[in-house]
């Protein structure tokens, strides 16, 4: 209660110039966005494609510079970071993306992929790093023997577990999860969702979770931000927001959810 937010996003704007020279137009991908995430909490961001949710995630991960606005991380504005202070920030913030096979180098063993962040940040000796990789693999539910495998020898779910292990390697405080289960098989999605939840509790992790399946986002998140065309149209605690949506757009998103129970026969003919 009363704790300062770990992440505070204020008046965030991202513009893209599109079109040919001479007839450039401005495309506002993120339009004056504000939200905060308290330490140890998970914020879900929902919206249709083109709503700007992944752009926000990229700005938070410092993969993209905003046009204006500020991102405070643990009391420090990180938008202008560079050099050593940026490197220190990167250690505390990690990302997991949708397709694990495009985020793992096909030529690197699992051992090498997971230990890479440790090498970059000069953590431990080679032996200590190997031991840490084994520990991380067990943490995400894989046998230590997986360390010697290459990505093509992994299933989608296993590869995503490796991506999560790599994200955890530097003991970050904040993890950005951009559609982390969307490319996985149904029976694997629940496994990864549970894993994310268990890890969050164990390490007091703070999450930004982007998803298009509202049931999934609701399961992970404490609070929800609903985005449409770059703007936040509604935000609040998940139960209140999904239980009693105020904005038309949120209602539209919710009515498009197909629930196996409630929507049974929804499109059947009135025969």
């Amino acid at each position: 209660m009363g704790t300062a937010p770990l992440i505070q996003v204020t008046d965030l704007v991202k513009d893209y110039k599109i079109g040919k020279r001479g007839s450039r137009v401005n495309l506002r991908a993120v339009d004056h966005v504000d939200f905060e995430i308290k330490k140890g909490k998970a914020l879900g961001v929902v919206g249709e494609s083109g709503s700007g949710k992944s752009t926000v995630a990229s700005i938070l991960a410092k993969l993209l510079a905003p046009t204006s606005g500020s991102v405070m991380f643990d009391g420090q504005d990180v938008t202008g970071l560079s050099g050593a202070s940026l490197k220190a920030f990167r250690r505390r913030v990690q990302t997991v993306f949708q397709d694990p096979f495009s985020s793992l180098n096909p030529k690197m063993t699992v051992l090498k992929s997971i230990s890479e962040p440790l090498v970059v940040h000069a953590v431990g000796s080679k032996e200590e790093r190997s031991a840490r990789v084994e520990e991380l693999l067990v943490m995400v539910g894989l046998e230590p023997s997986y360390a010697m495998r290459y990505p093509h020898q992994l299933s989608g779910g296993q590869a995503q577990r490796v991506s999560i292990a790599r994200a955890l390697a530097l003991q970050p405080e904040f993890i950005i999860l951009d559609e982390p289960i969307s490319s996985l098989d149904l029976s694997i999605q629940a496994q990864i969702l549970n894993l994310l939840k268990e890890l969050q509790a164990k390490f007091q992790l703070t999450y930004l979770f982007i998803g298009h399946d509202l049931g999934t986002v609701a399961f992970i998140s404490d609070d929800i931000v609903v985005m449409e065309s770059g703007k936040v149209v509604e935000q609040g605690p998940v139960e209140a927001l999904f239980g009693n949506p105020q904005q038309e757009y949120t209602k539209k998103l919710l009515s498009a959810v197909l629930d196996p129970e409630k929507d049974l026969g929804r499109f059947l003919a009135t025969r």
Partner: protein
């Protein structure tokens, strides 16, 4: 069996279908003794995870399997056996009577031609229409799949349309020749949820107007629930449970179906606890477990499950609700 009667009842009927792919590392059996049929105006949904064989039995019908596929068993289309039929009559049958739509319309449309021209080509080739006639027909077809301002859209290229509009164009092409069967292979997987709803509504409307049979492949339980008359759940190349949507989803009997349904996160569910999960991963074709292929992941597995493939048998409640399990939970 009365053939004339069957003609009315079923559009396509698959019996004891096996499909084996010849690969460099030996034959791989993609589906085992699969049976299903679909009637005019009915939607049959095949639900399963990747590698379960959802697409294989369906594309044995559409003729879109690679040439390495060895298909045995029986496929009757409007009462006539088509397995082994001559290529020319098959080609004609498939062109005229079977429409297919896929997940990603961008890869199915030619980026170099206006969408109107791509649709018009169908009428020129198959209906012998003039260019102008065919174009007008294409525009009216775009109108019937509810594309606003169809004349303008017909003059655009695929990249100028949204994902939902492109899928409507694909649907227009698939139904252009008024097929008896529409095969929809993950038709809404790449779309936003609200667009998904609109596309499913369109498929349903067209199905009812034209009394088309629809076979829809999906891995999304919500989609299956919303549109299916009947559902088949596939796992590792076999149907493990089939029945009406109501039967399969309201009272699932196979442990796999039950586990899938309970592992799905839902809005409004209590938040505190973890989801029910199925351990392990779906098997690949090369490593399908013996006996019941689900046994290594099944909480109800007994010795018999490791050695004997369970047979599909009806439930006590309904002869049409069929599932295969040696050790079903109480009540099955």
């Amino acid at each position: 069996m009365n053939l004339a009667e069957q003609k009315v009842d079923t559009v396509v009927s698959i019996k004891n279908l096996d499909v084996v792919f010849n690969t460099a590392s030996g034959p791989l059996q993609a589906i085992h003794t699969t049976n299903w049929s679909v009637a005019p105006g009915e939607t049959f949904v095949i639900l399963g995870e990747s590698g379960a064989g959802k697409s294989v039995s369906v594309h044995a019908v559409s003729g879109l399997l690679p040439s390495t596929a060895r298909i045995t068993g029986s496929i009757e289309f409007e009462g006539n056996e088509i397995l082994g039929a001559d290529q020319e009559s098959l080609r004609k049958l498939r062109a005229e009577k079977i429409g297919v739509i896929f997940q990603d319309p961008l890869t199915s449309l030619d980026p170099c031609f206006k969408v109107g021209a791509q649709i018009a080509e169908i009428f020129q080739v198959h209906r012998g229409m003039s260019k102008d006639e065919a174009w007008n027909q294409a525009v009216s077809l775009l109108d019937s799949v509810q594309i606003p301002d169809p004349e303008r859209r017909a003059n655009q290229f695929p990249h100028q349309l949204s994902g939902g509009q492109r899928q409507r164009v694909m649907i227009a092409m698939a139904i252009a020749l008024e097929p008896k069967l529409l095969i929809a292979d993950e038709p809404t997987t790449a779309l936003d949820a609200s667009v998904q709803v609109a596309v499913l509504e369109l498929i349903q409307r067209l199905r009812d107007q034209r009394d088309m049979a629809v076979v829809l492949i999906t891995h999304n339980i919500g989609v299956a629930a919303a549109i299916a008359d009947r559902i088949a759940i596939m796992y590792a190349g076999r149907i493990v449970e089939t029945g009406t949507a109501q039967e399969v989803l309201r009272s699932p009997k196979h442990p796999y179906t039950q586990a899938l349904l309970s592992s799905m996160p839902r809005i409004g569910a209590s938040k505190a606890e973890l989801l029910t999960t199925i351990s392990g991963t779906p098997p690949s074709l090369a490593t399908i477990p013996s006996g019941c292929a689900f046994h290594p992941r099944c909480t109800r597995a007994i010795e018999k499950c490791k050695t004997d493939v369970p047979r599909l048998e009806p439930t006590k409640q309904s002869v049409n609700h069929i599932f295969s399990c040696h050790n079903p939970a109480e009540g099955a």
